[in-house]
Symmetry: C2
Subunit: 120 residues, 2 copies
């Protein structure tokens, strides 16, 4: 069946959550949001483009930083309301310069930083 | 720093997306939603409890099916508006009886089922 981005379930703002996972290591790098057009751009270009809710604009990941996400494979969940992207991430995915945005763990009730920023 | 669920950023409905990842294999199993109270219950019981948006009620994962998710580690992202949970998933995570909800891939423009329901 041919994939059509318009068949996904978007929220009231026309957005769908998209999880980026390192295709090689399996590490979950980040979660951000897409609308149908950002998903089309992602599929067309092969590089992940999100929708920035704070800036209300397209967010071609790595456009300014060079930390692009090359799309390896797109997956859709059973409810068609969440996306999982297998990606090839250049450098850090996080704006804090860490490989993943999920660098804070909760251990024994405390927040613990489990990942250092990448060397510049 | 002591972790307090009330310090997370919830959306207008008081919810935060929570990604469940197999702690052993790294497979992303599902994404669902939590409110502060479901997160507290998850941390207290060690078993994942979501908030069901469709039923508007707590959803103790596996309560009826037995397919519980034991929380191994909770992680918080840089913006504090998304959770990543390392879990020990008993049986399938998906209501379709598949291990993961992300069993549909987009390959060469077509939707392809990449995972069969589990036996039993």
């Amino acid at each position: 069946m041919s994939f059509d981005p318009s068949t996904l379930k978007y929220d009231a703002n026309g957005l769908i959550p998209a999880i980026a996972q390192d295709a090689a290591s399996g590490e979950v790098l980040m979660m951000a949001w897409m609308n149908a057009e950002s998903l089309r751009r992602t599929l067309e270009t092969g590089q992940v483009t999100y929708w920035s809710r704070s800036r209300q604009s397209f967010w071609a990941k790595g456009e300014s930083s060079g930390h692009v996400q090359k799309l390896i494979e797109l997956r859709v969940d059973c409810d068609r309301d969440c996306l999982l992207m297998q990606v090839d991430q250049i450098g850090p995915a996080c704006h804090t310069n860490r490989r993943s945005c999920f660098y804070t763990a909760v251990r024994a009730g405390d927040e613990v930083e489990i990942m250092a920023p990448m060397a510049g």
